[in-house]
């Protein structure tokens, strides 16, 4: 019986040692795994950080390279602007070159930006932006309008370059005397003078229209009773400050369609004494010499109108 007991207890011990050992082995393996995972995570983290760092480094280097290129380009461009000599024969430019292929490219890039700026400038100063169309058989011309610094509508003409110049397409409003200018003007002999005259009409129209627009916007107390499409006749109604709140009717006539100021100003009111007063004589003169919306500001300040 004791032997069996010993065998049993030995077995138990043997088994428990095994289980324990196994457990211990498992524990060790688990610890190892955890360590490995930690290491992996660490390495992953390191790689991630490294990658991020690398990305930033390359971004920084990229920026540095761009700044360097840009600065060289700006220097070259400034040189071109200052010397004003055709860039193929420029000695100063040669000195800037470092003999590499890139300096030739840099010069060309500078010239490219210079030309772009000059062409854009031609457009901004109200140039005609002439464009060749239909393989040289026609040209497209743009007429820009502006008033008091604000760029307004642009109108276009397409001209057929036959034996006789002929306008084949346009978006010029019908109340501008285009036909008359073509037949009675010098389009065939001096296209620039013709365009200048047309531009005068268009800019005058744009100016009058803009004055009306600003008047409506700024001076809500002034009513526009009548106006025509060409903005050459304007009838306004003023409210005269005072107890009676009388009204005055003002008619502006722009007989010269190339002008932005009226040729005639007529003021009527039931209060005839008012109309012939020196203050209103001044207002009449003001309206003849000053753009409408500006004249009205003065008239409000002096208390002539509400």
């Amino acid at each position: 019986m004791l032997v069996g007991y010993n065998v049993l207890s030995n077995l138990k011990i043997y088994i428990s040692r095994g289980v324990l050992g196994h457990l211990k082995m498992l524990e060790m393996e688990a610890n190892n795994l955890e360590l490995k995972q930690q290491e992996l995570r660490q390495r992953g983290r390191q790689e991630e950080l490294n990658a991020n760092l690398q990305a930033l480094l390359s971004k920084r280097d990229q920026l540095k390279a761009e700044i360097k290129a840009n600065t060289s380009l700006q220097k070259m461009r400034t040189l071109l602007d200052q010397t004003g000599v055709p860039y193929e024969r420029n000695e100063d430019v040669d000195n800037l070159e470092d003999g590499s292929d890139n300096s030739q490219l840099l010069l060309m890039m500078a010239r490219h930006t210079q030309l772009k700026d000059l062409l854009h400038a031609h457009h901004l100063i109200g140039g005609y932006d002439v464009l060749q169309t239909r393989k040289g058989k026609g040209v497209c011309v743009s007429l820009a309008t502006a008033y008091e610094g604000v760029y307004l509508e642009t109108y276009n003409l397409e001209i057929d370059l036959g034996s006789n110049l002929r306008i084949c397409r346009h978006n010029i409003p019908p109340f501008i005397p285009l036909e008359r200018l073509v037949t009675q003007g010098n389009m065939q002999t001096d296209i620039r003078d013709f365009l200048d005259t047309l531009s005068q009409y268009l800019n005058a129209y744009a100016g009058r229209k803009q004055q009306l627009h600003l008047t409506k916007e700024i001076h809500s107390s002034v009513q526009v009773a009548e106006s025509n499409a060409l903005c050459t006749i304007l009838v306004l109604m003023f409210t005269i400050p005072g107890e009676k709140a009388e009204a005055a009717l003002c008619t502006l006539q722009y007989a010269d369609h190339t002008q932005r100021l009226p040729t005639r100003v007529n003021i009527e009111s039931e209060d005839t004494a008012l109309v012939s007063s020196p203050q209103w004589k001044k207002n009449q003169a003001l309206l003849l010499e000053t753009p409408l919306h500006t004249a009205l500001v003065t008239m409000k300040k002096t208390g002539s109108i509400a």
Binding site: R45, L53, E66, N102, L105, M109, Y151
Partner: protein, 315 residues
């Protein structure tokens, strides 16, 4: 240990971020100082080469060739625009003052000339994106011109600066220079014509010697009738009779410019005669000369009228 490493990384990261921010700021600043239009495929390709990157399939030679073609096309375009606009632009520098989501403000500095009239124009352009349209306004205008002798034109220029009417300035500049050219051409024509009249004289004196001597004699006997004391670009032409001392006719050719840009050439004839001659002028021909000249102008135009006056004096 790990904590230290992470700290090191973090520090480096932060330093790099700061460096990048500073560089970005520098780049933005540079781009504002000298604003250049670098848009377009060709320029972008070229830029890549300059920064050391190069796209696969695009050799430097190809890119250079394409850029060259574009440059040539733009140069031709510039010639066309210069011709039709009658304005030569020499330089254009752009500076970006403000750049936002919907608003951009740029300063443009232009130098150039319209025939003999040099200009330097600085203007500030404001572009605002409003709903569907772009509203473009000139918010400041400054014009500098050499020709201060044209007083009328200077007044016009100040007016145009106040109203920021850039387009009116250039439209008027062109027409003004055309009228100046008319005057210069006519004045120069008369100055040359009178000098050219010299070689014709030998035909009337066939017995005379060499042409040189004939010219000399002619010059001594008949001094130049027409003189331009201020040059052919000035407003004044003087006509003196070679035989009658003290008798002078002056043509004043002024070119008026209103604030609205209307250009009116005005040609006046003034007479200067000694008392004795005026006394003898019973039919008041000399007194009425200025008015008669105006009538002539209306019928014959400038050149023919002046020619008539010169002929009447030279004989």
């Amino acid at each position: 240990m790990k904590k230290n490493l992470e700290n090191v990384y973090e520090a480096q990261f932060k330093a790099l971020q700061e460096e990048i921010a500073a560089l970005q700021g520098q780049q933005d600043n540079n781009e504002r100082e000298i604003a250049m239009d670098l848009a377009g495929g060709r320029m972008q390709d070229a830029l890549l080469i300059m920064t050391g990157h190069q796209e696969m399939g695009k050799s430097q030679r190809d890119i250079t060739a394409h850029l060259k073609t574009e440059i040539m096309e733009m140069e031709e375009d510039l010639i066309r625009q210069t011709k039709i606009n009658g304005i030569v632009l020499v330089n254009c520098c752009v500076k970006t003052v403000e750049k936002g989501n919907k608003k951009m403000v740029q300063q443009h500095r232009l130098t150039g000339h319209c025939s003999f009239l040099d200009f330097q124009v600085e203007f500030e352009l404001t572009d605002v994106q409003e709903d569907t349209t772009l509203v473009r306004t000139i918010t400041d205008l400054n014009i500098v011109m050499d020709s201060t002798e044209f007083k009328d034109f200077s007044n016009f220029v100040s007016g145009v600066e106040d109203k920021r009417d850039l387009l009116l300035f250039f439209r008027t500049l062109r027409r003004f220079s055309d009228r100046c050219e008319d005057r210069r051409r006519t004045f120069q024509h008369f100055q040359e014509q009178v000098q050219e009249a010299v070689p014709h004289f030998p035909r009337m004196f066939p017995s005379m010697g060499s042409e040189k001597m004939e010219n000399q004699e002619w010059k001594e006997k008949y001094p130049c009738v027409v003189s331009l004391p201020g040059g052919c670009r000035a407003e004044v032409m003087q006509i003196k009779s070679p035989k009658l001392a003290g008798c002078a006719l002056t043509i004043y050719w002024s070119i008026e410019v209103t604030n609205e840009g209307d250009i009116t050439p005005k040609i006046d004839l003034l007479t200067k005669m000694p008392e004795k001659v005026l006394e003898m002028d019973s039919r008041k021909v000399i007194e009425n000369a200025p008015d008669s000249f105006q009538s002539l102008l209306r019928i014959l135009g400038a050149e023919a009228s002046i020619d008539t006056v010169i002929q009447s004096v030279a004989v």
